[in-house]
């Protein structure tokens, strides 16, 4: 369970989050949708303490993560896995080393155990025989899948996905969504997905929250959002040019 209350965040004179409230239920997939540049990634980074709010509270399982000492924050971060928008694989390490890295650093597993965990994590995302490749030798879809394997390899309780399917072809996009659903069904983690994938996300997420002008406009089930009467949400899911959402 992650709770945000009255979160404000500005960069210079630009107000990004403006008194945002959000409850992310444990064990479910929550999607955060909204127009580009509205601060969805900023919101996601607040959940794991990569960004600190100017004011307001962020609590993970009842513990505040605002202004914590690094050691305290790291203790809470051990619950998390994160897939970044541009994946952020370590580019001087091979695929195998990337996925093995959290295991080497955070566990006392033997070399053989690590190898088998990494191989099975990569197989789960449908990747074989690319262990010795470097990230810049991979396609966008493969990188995303390696990132996914790295994010889940420690079996975290909470996984954050920042646009996991942006820039991928429809088939790989579908495959990644299925992968998230399958791994979620298998491990039961809490997932937060920042995404633009309308309508695909309605089949993946159990909760959807729409971020607009620094606040959560509506938070509910996919059906609630689909049948919303809010003009901004209607405009966003229909992809219309007319409505309250203006292109910057």
């Amino acid at each position: 369970m992650i709770t945000l209350r009255n979160v404000h965040k500005s960069f210079g004179s630009q107000k990004v989050l403006d008194g945002l409230d959000l409850d992310i239920p444990a064990g479910q997939i929550t999607a955060i949708i909204g127009p580009s540049g509205e601060g969805k990634s900023v919101l996601l980074k607040h959940l794991i303490g990569l960004l600190q709010p100017d004011s307001g509270t962020v609590e993970v399982d009842g513990e505040s993560i605002v202004d914590l000492r690094r050691s305290e924050l790291n203790r809470i971060r051990e619950k998390f896995g994160m897939l970044f928008q541009n994946v952020a694989l370590f580019d001087s390490m091979t695929v195998f080393e990337n996925v093995a890295f959290p295991l080497q650093e955070k566990t006392s597993l033997s070399k053989e155990e690590i190898r088998s965990r990494v191989v099975s994590a990569l197989e789960d995302v449908g990747l074989k025989n690319i262990d010795d490749k470097f990230p810049d030798e991979l396609s966008g879809g493969m990188k995303k899948r390696v990132g996914l394997a790295r994010a889940v390899v420690l079996n975290p309780k909470i996984i954050l996905f920042d646009e996991p399917t942006t820039g991928l072809d429809p088939i790989i996009k579908r495959a990644i969504h299925e992968l998230i659903k399958d791994t979620h069904a298998k491990f039961g983690f809490t997932a937060v997905i920042v995404t633009h994938e309308i309508p695909d996300i309605f089949d993946v997420a159990q909760n959807i929250a729409m971020l607009f002008r620094g606040k959560i406009l509506q938070h509910g089930t996919p059906d609630d959002i689909k049948n919303s009467s809010d003009p901004a949400i209607r405009q966003f899911i229909s992809g219309s040019l007319d409505g309250p959402i203006r292109m910057a």
């Binding site: 790291n74 203790r75 051990e78 952020a88 694989l89 580019d91 650093e105």
Partner: protein
């Protein structure tokens, strides 16, 4: 006008504070969690071993030009025999530590900033943080340790090669008495000279790692941000080395 001045001042003070904190935290991490030996060895190879060629090359020519210039000056007083002393003292006390540090700044300092800067803009540093791992342990402390070990050693090599460069020109080309070259040197170079050279090069190692890592860690956005950080890193490191060298010399003299 006043507002702009205040803005700049606040910016400078904030940067200084951040850089100071960066150095303190790095020192703390070196003591608490120095990082794995593999990372340190990798950096030793990069900062130390791979700088050898350029150090040997510059040291050779620095020593040779010292031999030439020293001979020209000393010959005016008829004391060519002191050439060994002049070359050795200039190298050990001053030129060895400073030139070695400036060469390493150009070669490794820039690379350190670029590497960490690229990791910053591609969110690899954030990725480490989300794994509850301290980026300093992987990216910063191994570079500090490697630079603190490498610089005094590179400086020693610089000194030795330079002295032989001076010998080559002074003794072999200009005909200074070979016995006098080394005998006068041995007589006048004392442990204090060598020691002050090592103190200097050790502290230059800290400066190179500090500014190199700091500029990369807080690199701006995109390729331009990294390019700017790298340039600033090299310029700032070189300036700090020369300024610090003056103060250190005045204390150690």
């Amino acid at each position: 006008m006043v507002q702009a001045l205040g803005h700049v001042t606040i910016g400078v003070v904030r940067d200084l504070g951040r850089a100071g904190w960066f150095l303190l935290y790095s020192c703390y991490m070196i003591v608490r969690r120095p990082g794995s030996l593999v990372h340190v060895l990798k950096q030793l190879r990069f900062i130390g071993t791979k700088s050898l060629f350029v150090i040997v090359l510059t040291a050779g020519f620095t020593g040779m030009v010292l031999g030439l210039q020293g001979y020209y000056t000393l010959a005016k007083f008829g004391s060519e025999g002191m050439l060994g002393t002049a070359v050795a003292l200039s190298l050990i006390r001053e030129l060895g530590p400073v030139l070695a540090a400036l060469m390493v700044t150009g070669r490794a300092g820039s690379a350190i900033t670029a590497e960490i800067g690229i990791m910053r803009i591609t969110e690899q540093i954030d990725a480490l943080e989300t794994m509850a791992l301290d980026p300093f342990k992987y990216l910063v402390t191994p570079k500090f340790i490697a630079a603190m070990i490498s610089l005094p050693l590179l400086c020693a090599i610089f000194d030795v090669i330079g002295i032989y460069g001076g010998w080559l020109v002074g003794v072999k080309l200009l005909g200074v008495n070979p016995g006098a070259y080394f005998y006068e040197m041995e007589k006048s170079v004392v442990w204090r000279d060598v020691y002050s050279g090592f103190v200097k090069s050790f502290s230059f190692g800290v400066i190179i790692a500090w500014i190199g890592c700091y500029k990369g860690y807080y690199a701006g956005h995109g390729a331009e941000g990294v390019a700017k950080a790298t340039t600033e890193s090299v310029v700032l490191t070189s300036v700090i080395i020369l300024v610090w060298d003056y103060f250190l010399t005045s204390v150690l003299l």
